[in-house]
Symmetry: C2
């Protein structure tokens, strides 16, 4: 049965799930959530996900939210991109949590504030604070890649596909690939994986479409 | 062998690991990290944890960071507070990620900014933004408890001990228990667990000690 991913292309959190489904060769299709017009705040969507967040994966009777949970489910179901033992499982979890807390968890809101929030609601203080926190996390990530190709194992795993969730987007959010040589090379490695797609080529709909 | 948790009592992220160890009846002891005087930025500490974060659990040759990874390890090792099947495992992961991203991931920095940052470095804009985001997450949490006692199963699990990480601290961070009746009752349920301890009674050292 084809799995359905409720998503939209501006969401890096949805991208983590979508690119995992795609590179794990899962049978799936995207279903557009019109997030910017309030679709995730409707009662219908809240019934699907009380957290009100995108993405949601539906696989028959199984309904899953949180990108990290969807990544875990897809890697287990397909046997691809997941851990091979307990140590790898914990390493994947470690970087997935680090991403949710400090990389995507900051980059997502910062990119939203800087690009999609009306100008009169933007705060330099707030965005400066988020940029400072994102920079600290990216420095850790860049340092970690000094002598490693991948985050959690000797190959691409869902941990990489979590941490890169927002890092391919072109809109400004204070992340400059040239300032992080190791991250830059790692993003190129991921993008060189057969079947890889940019978020804008993998998921439907975005404010950019309507611009 | 006694496990060692590197921690300090002002850290809600450390508390998640410490209270899991305590309630899972693990053999452990805390080791004080003098975070406020820069101990987590030393080369020695960075060797233990390149992410530079607290907590870190050391169990013989096994060194683990990220509170969610430590919770997972301890529940697996002790057979307590963990999942009984795959569905429960994913529910625990879901709420642990939600916590890291939206509850503790916001409450921790907001509490730090409002209480431990020098006054001249505090930003009303930034703290207002964080308070707004924390409020949204707490509203989701409070709503979820309308017809449930625990987050991820029919009993206390590590998911509850993740989401409550910062919610027992007395310092102001815009969280008022009386405004969230269901969260309030849930925090009382957790605190009624035999052996439960407040973060200030479970872990060593804090700025409050020196005040």
């Amino acid at each position: 049965m084809t799995m359905i991913l409720h998503c939209f292309r501006e969401s890096g959190n949805a991208y983590k799930a979508a690119i995992t489904l795609e590179l794990a060769a899962a049978d799936w299709r995207p279903e557009f959530v019109d997030f910017f017009n309030g679709a995730s705040r409707t009662p219908e969507y809240r019934a699907l996900n009380p957290m009100g967040e995108v993405p949601v994966l539906v696989d028959g009777d199984t309904v899953l939210s949180q990108s990290g949970v969807i990544q875990d489910y897809v890697s287990e179901k397909t046997g691809n991109l997941g851990p091979r033992d307990s140590d790898e499982r914990r390493e994947i979890l470690r970087w997935t949590l680090f991403d949710n807390h400090k990389v995507s968890g900051i980059a997502g809101p910062l990119r939203f504030n800087m690009n999609f929030l009306p100008e009169d609601r933007r705060s330099e203080d707030t965005n400066g604070y988020l940029a400072m926190r994102l920079g600290s996390a990216l420095k850790v990530l860049d340092g970690y890649f000094a002598d490693r190709d991948w985050l959690a194992a000797d190959r691409l795993t869902t941990a990489d596909l979590a941490c890169c969730g927002y890092l391919y987007y072109p809109e400004p959010f204070t992340f400059d690939r040239t300032a992080y040589a190791n991250i830059d090379a790692w993003l190129d490695r991921i993008a060189a994986t057969p079947g890889w797609k940019h978020p804008y080529d993998l998921m439907p709909g975005s404010p950019a479409d309507r611009a």
